[in-house]
Amino acid sequence: MHKIWAVIRREFVERVRTRAFLLSTILFPVFMAAMVVIPGLLMSRSTGTQRLAVVDATTDELGQRMTSTLEAARIGKGEEAPSRYTVTRFPAVGRAITVRDSLLPVTGRSRKAEGGYEGILVISDSTVTSGKAYYYGANVASFDDMRELEQTLRPMVIARRLEGMGVDLGQVMQAVKGIDLETGKVADGKLTGESGAATFALAYAMGLILYISLLIFGNQVMMSIIEEKNNRIVEILASSLTPFQMMLGKVVGVGLVALLQIGIWAGAATFFSANQQKILGGMGVSASGPMAFAVPSMSPGLLMVFLVFFSLGFLLFAAAYAAVGAMCSTTQDASQMQMPVMMFVLVGFFSVFALIRDPNGTAAHVLSFVPMLTPFVIPMRYSISPLPPLELGTAILVTVAGMLAIVWLASRIYRVGILSYGKKASVRDMVRWIRTA
């Protein structure tokens, strides 16, 4: 036991001390935060007030009404929000093209430049009849700008048409009002206060964390075994430790590093989400709408289930990665040989998506008893509705049994593999190694 601790400590301490660990620990939350903040920053910049020239070729008051509608449009909500457009109207009945052409030299300037217009909107009587309006500007590729403009104009045009048909706009709006489905999750016969989106996000996040950890840290286990083989330190280790001690120490040590890193990230995410108003406010970005970011809360029961299955899953897959590492002498060989292990990781991860629609269906029940997949499937199912204790217990037993079987197989491969150099092992070698007493 003492020796395994020594190996675990070495793996943990040496890994945590590396610059790579520090960088990835810091950069990942920075990256995540950037994903939230940067679109917000970009959006707030692109929604400055635009100077618009309206070339009005309409023969009635439509052009006037449209101009005032545009002038009334605001960025964001509330009366004090800045205007979306400053509009200059050019009456141009019968000579829309001439007026447009005369405006072109002062159009398409950058927003910061003085004078001129960012775009020209050409409307005519046919805007109502055929729904055609024309826009000329440098920002025509901006999907958001164009959509914004369309949305501002559309109700006006529709209202105008309805008026023509003698229908009251107010009544129509009343009639076409949609319904808004508010969701609330029921678990254990109680309302949990979680929405459907939050439930999905949580189930997805748990699968993603396991998936990423396995890919990153499973690979690290594999690579460090190949490194130990290549610099032959493995001979010194093998003369002092049993292969089982070496392998288990490494897998657990690396696993603890993974847990530490995820813990730091989860902590950072929770902190950020709790204080995002302050943080974003400090950066001059409003924390509303699409940028709102919330860490789904986890019940203690779910957290336990997740940690149990994360640990079991990590041990199971990391042991498999260790066996692959022991079978190879070069990283190139390893990237080929790890494919079967990776397949299971992928299948597990994607089964979360497949099963989330029907978490208590037959497929979900069956996959809950496949040891390689349970670490993905069970936390997902549990997050949607807690499993009966019997089913949960059985799933844990199955996973533990599968984990032990894989660790046992892996340690037998590892035992022979770590001291075999040269070409990578074949499946036949592998079977022979497992059978060697």
Binding site: E14, R232, I233, E235, I236, S239, S240
Partner: protein, 317 residues
């Protein structure tokens, strides 16, 4: 001398197609320095790895310190593998502490011992440096410490002196001799005969996986017999070579240019050789009737083509 510490009994190991070790038996008694000698590829490292239970023998039995598996007794054995390996990114002191812990001694003790050894070998200043910053010789010292810091009863060193400069070689040699003086058993392999001759109490020479010589150094020399003369001449090497090529006088020559070791022929005697050499005016600086050197025994037993030690050429008249 106590009973045997390492016993290798009729052990055979085959690697795809060739037999690396062929029915080899060794008996390493407790205490003293045991040399496992042989040319490159003779099976020395394979034998040592089997003793260390890193690879398993195809046939035969090995017992170490009275047990079957050396790993169970790893705390009493120190091992320096031929293929040196250290964690490159780890600090020296941490690395040595880990090696100690892997051998089952307590963390604090391991740290204290490591510090002590680093001071003894004069590399204390490097204790907190990473392995990758060290020269090869220093890395070898670190590994050497790794094999010894848990105070093993049996120390197995695979080519401990290869790649070391004379000064470091001397330091390591002193440590090894000191261990033997403390009653520890040292088993080491080498193909450098001068070293083995100066240090070993007992030797085994293997060639192509088979044992060719076994016994105490004195026994081996006595058995090999012959009358040998060690010579050093200071001029007219060509004339000296001509004298030594006389097969009625000299049976065999191991010529190093300025020095030579020769075995007298049945018909020759030392007096006549001395007279002839003086006549030829070769400026004799040394003329000594000696026992055969391990080098010449090695070459005679292993065969000149298999030997890798320097100066293999004989003189052609």
């Amino acid at each position: 001398m106590s009973s045997s510490v390492v016993k290798v009994d009729n052990v055979t190991k085959r690697f795809s197609g060739h037999t690396a070790v062929d029915q080899l038996s060794l008996d390493v008694p407790g205490g003293g320095i045991f040399g496992l000698l042989g040319p490159n590829g003779a099976g020395k490292s394979t034998t040592i790895r089997m003793i260390m239970n890193i690879i398993t023998a195809d046939e035969g039995k090995i017992s170490v310190l009275g047990g079957e598996s050396s790993r169970d007794l790893s705390g009493r054995i120190g091992y320096l593998p031929e293929e040196r390996g250290l964690y490159k990114k780890m600090k020296i002191l941490d690395q040595l502490t880990f090696f100690g812990e892997a051998k089952g001694i307590h963390r604090k003790t391991a740290r204290a011992k490591a510090t002590e050894w680093l001071a003894k070998l004069g590399i204390s200043d490097w204790a907190l440096k990473k392995v990758e910053d060290l020269s090869k010789g220093m890395q070898q010292k670190v590994q050497f410490i790794g094999a010894l810091l848990h105070e093993p009863d049996l120390v197995i060193l695979d080519e401990p002196f290869s790649g070391l400069d004379p000064v470091n070689s001397q330091v390591m040699k002193d440590v090894v001799v000191d261990l033997a003086r403390q009653g520890k058993t040292v088993l080491f392999s080498t193909h450098i005969m001068e070293q083995a001759e100066k240090m070993c109490d007992r030797i085994v020479i293997i060639s192509r996986g088979k044992k060719v010589v076994d016994g105490s150094l004195a026994e081996v020399k006595r058995e090999f017999g012959g009358r040998h003369v060690a010579l050093t001449f200071t001029r007219h090497a060509d004339r000296a070579a001509r004298v030594l090529a006389d097969r009625s006088l000299v049976a065999k020559v191991d010529d190093y240019g300025a020095t030579a070791e020769c075995e007298l022929a049945e018909t020759g005697d030392a007096d006549r050789l001395l007279r002839t050499l003086v006549q030829e005016d070769v400026g004799l600086a040394r003329f000594e009737v000696v026992e055969a050197s391990l080098q010449s025994i090695f070459i005679a037993k292993v065969g000149i083509e298999a030997a890798t030690a320097p100066a293999k050429e004989t003189v052609h008249a």
